[in-house]
């Protein structure tokens, strides 16, 4: 986008806001918003948040509940999804619980691969929720930020280095436009994690010398194919099992744990050496992703992170993060510290749902007019997970720099159309040259 275009859009944005201010006062009357100064303003005020949801599956519908519980003065005004049945189910469910706040009229329900454009184009929408499969994230983020909307995006924010680069370029764009971005890394809004990590960063265990993190669990859901579904539809409805859509489970799920280690160390790894495979979940209905990974990540400080993730039933499970320091150690998911400054967080019944809190924090920042942007940290954690996956897929050691600077095009197909779409081959370590 050229500078002129940007300026154009900002100007449009400005006049649009004025328009809505008038329209709102006339039409809504009783709601909180009496003026409208939200997007791109960092201006304080009790402005109404008008949400457009892109991706209305289980998580998107959950996010609707979360955002509505998070703050007063929030309405859902537009919804988009690739599939009609999903979006209708989502609206019905959301309305059962929040009849008034889910004010999505039929003409603001958009279906299809371009639904995101239509949701973003709804003038009164000032807060976009992105909850589609992650493969679409860079495209949707770019469109939302360029249109001047605040964004709550689910993690991960991309599935490959090209996508991460695209998103990293948006970090400054969002700041320049004074748009706030939350990224679905809800542990950052979970009181126990925040307290524990603060203690570690304040020196409770000395310097961190080793770490480990796991997301080892059983298998996940799988949808049976319906005859009328095209290949593309089948893949999108079973998006977990296709790397271009999910990033594989190390990126889609294990990113949460990797992100915690990046958070506590305030850095990201520079190299990954890993392995993985597809041992149990081998059927065609599971696409082409792996069912287990084990990665050795190396940080610039020399600290290593042992990372494992597995989705196989009947095995030892653990979803956890731990760090070892020169003066003690910490089990982050349990909020406990051992060693010289031993500590365990007391049970606190007042703890709020972190999935709600992340919206509370984002909306509060928007209303206070304070900058809030989690995009860079989550882009780095996404790339960390991609680095692990790439190492396991190729069997090679992979560095941060070569991934970040790679010129390989995205694995997300351009110009998607409903129709045939072959399942990519399963990665064969040692035989694959591309990243």
């Amino acid at each position: 986008m050229s500078l002129d275009d940007q300026k154009d859009q900002q100007d449009q944005g400005f006049s649009r806001r004025n328009f809505i201010k008038t329209a709102t006062a006339a039409a809504v009357g009783t709601t909180v918003a009496t003026h409208f100064s939200l997007p791109g303003a960092y201006a304080a005020g009790s402005d109404e948040i008008r949400v457009g949801v892109i991706g209305c599956g289980g998580r998107g519908t959950g996010a609707i509940r979360n955002v509505l519980e998070s703050s007063k003065g929030v309405k859902i005004v537009a919804m988009g999804d690739a599939f009609k049945d999903r979006i209708e189910e989502s609206r019905t469910r959301a309305k059962q619980k929040f009849a008034d706040a889910v004010a999505v009229t039929d003409d603001k329900m958009f279906v299809g691969l371009d639904a995101y454009k239509q949701v973003i184009a709804v003038p009164e929408v000032n807060y976009i929720i992105l909850a589609t499969p992650p493969g679409f994230r860079p495209l949707h983020l770019k469109a939302a930020i360029e249109a001047g909307k605040h964004v709550f995006t689910e993690k991960p924010i991309a599935v490959d280095p090209a996508g991460v680069r695209e998103v990293l370029a948006l970090v400054e764009t969002a700041k320049a436009k004074k748009l706030n971005i939350g990224t679905g890394t809800q542990r950052h809004h979970q009181a126990g994690y925040i307290e524990t990590i603060k203690r570690i960063q304040d020196g409770a265990i000395g310097d961190i010398v080793a770490s480990r993190c796991y997301w080892n669990q059983g298998a996940l859901w799988n949808r049976e194919r319906k005859q009328e579904w095209s290949d593309l539809e089948y893949q999108m409805r079973n998006w977990l099992y296709y790397t271009w859509l999910s990033g594989d489970h190390i990126v889609e799920q294990h990113i949460h744990n990797i992100d915690v280690i990046n958070w506590v160390t305030g850095s990201h790894p520079v190299k990954a050496t890993g392995m993985g495979g597809r041992q149990v979940r081998t059927g065609a209905e599971f696409g082409h992703i792996f069912d287990h990974f084990a990665i050795d990540f190396e940080y610039e400080s020399g600290m290593h992170l042992m990372s494992m993730c597995r989705q196989i039933d009947g095995c030892a499970n653990s979803v956890s993060e731990a760090v070892v320091g020169t003066k003690g150690s910490a089990q982050l998911d349990k909020y406990t510290i051992a060693g010289a400054s031993a500590w365990a967080r007391a049970k606190n019944d007042k703890d709020v749902d972190p999935y709600v809190q992340e919206h509370t924090d984002l909306i509060a920042s928007i209303r206070k007019g304070e900058p809030f942007n989690e995009l860079k940290a989550t882009a780095e954690s996404t790339l960390t997970a991609i680095m692990g996956r790439t190492s396991a897929y190729t069997g090679k050691a992979v560095t941060w720099d070569e991934l970040l600077n790679s010129t390989e095009p995205t694995i997300v197909p351009a110009d998607l159309k409903w129709g045939p779409m072959p399942t990519p081959p399963v990665a064969m370590p040692g035989q694959q040259t591309s990243l």
Partner: protein, 331 residues
């Protein structure tokens, strides 16, 4: 012979072969060990001779809550109860074992026809380990469906205990706040709770059993019972002349159901025989999906369950099954 031959759940009125087999079995009202068919996994059931008892707590009991009163006199029939809480070893067979797909034209077996939990989104054992550890974190619906699955597997009508049966078994003939006595001094001998459990559940049956040979009724995991929770339940019962096998059958709402016995995470007062706890939507606080899972809680790592099998199933409970679906409202 066992009176009231179990009707396999889900097929009210029908009398499939399993029921006939159970009826034909010689019927000592004694302890037995059940082996879950096609596996080596076993569990023990102990007989509890029915009778009358005072349910609830006196107004002066320390740590008492309002919903435990007024005390009512209730009568329960003979039943067997699980000597121990249901373990992961048992529960995994239901929740995770792959099921054989019936061949074309072949009807699924009664056990395979029982709905099965959807996959959890994380580690369902929460780092506490599996095997002989008590199964935990499942919803009331899931615990209830487990008993239906097990019934279809074994041909015996297993179910959750009614609130009255549970308290009767926990008291084991005594009247003190805990079966181990009037003060919490002896509690650590029979129970894993906040004071001695180090914040984690322990393998089942590793403390002393109560007078009737039942382990861990107090503490370890809190236990789902069959009843819906109603804070004023005892007040509504207190006017009635005779209370035989009282139970408040749940409807289609996800909450609240009754949990009994307190857990590894609770203080002594919550472990009292009379103490009642109600499930609530906060137990799935961190489930980010909508609709939330009807199988797994994200914030109730303290709850599990144990089995009961009536010697003569009360009419009201014959063929009972959970009415909860994905469409069920919270309350």
């Amino acid at each position: 012979m066992i009176a009231g031959a179990p009707t396999p759940p889900g097929t009210p009125g029908a009398a499939p072969p399993q029921a006939a087999a159970a009826t034909a079995a010689p019927a000592g009202f004694e302890s037995y060990t059940e082996t879950i068919p096609d596996t080596k996994v076993t569990f023990d059931m102990v007989p509890v001779k029915g009778g009358s008892f005072t349910m609830g707590s006196p107004a002066n009991e320390a740590g008492r809550a309002e919903d435990e009163g007024p005390e009512v006199k209730a009568t329960v029939g003979n039943f067997w109860i699980g000597a121990r809480e249901v373990t992961w070893e048992e529960y995994d067979l239901y929740a995770f074992a792959r099921r054989r797909r019936p061949a074309a034209g072949e009807a699924p077996s009664p056990a395979d026809a029982v709905s099965k939990p959807t996959p959890p989104y994380a580690d369902e054992s929460w780092g506490f380990g599996k095997g002989k550890q008590p199964a935990l974190g499942m919803t009331w619906h899931a615990a209830s469906e487990y008993t239906r699955w097990l019934s279809a597997k074994t041909g015996k009508a297993y179910r959750l205990a009614t609130e009255a049966e549970w308290e009767y078994a926990a008291r084991a003939g005594g009247k003190t706040p805990w079966s181990a006595g009037a003060s919490d001094a002896a509690l650590a001998d029979v129970a894993w709770y906040a004071k001695n459990a180090a914040g984690v559940p322990h393998p089942v049956g590793t403390k002393k059993p109560n007078a009737w040979g039942i382990y861990d009724l107090h503490g370890n995991v809190a236990e789902w019972v069959l009843d819906q929770y109603d804070a004023k339940r005892y007040a509504s019962l207190s006017g009635q002349k005779s209370l035989i096998n009282p139970v408040l059958l749940p409807g289609e709402a996800r909450y609240p159901h009754v949990v009994r016995g307190g857990s590894f995470d609770d203080d002594a007062a919550a472990l009292r025989s009379a103490a009642r706890r109600a499930s609530k939507p906060e137990w799935s606080r961190r489930d980010p999906q909508q609709p939330q899972s009807i199988w797994w809680h994200t914030d109730a790592i303290f709850v599990g369950f144990r089995l009961v099998r009536a010697a003569e199933e009360p009419e009201a409970l014959k063929g009972f099954k959970s009415k909860i679906t994905r469409e069920s409202p919270d309350m």
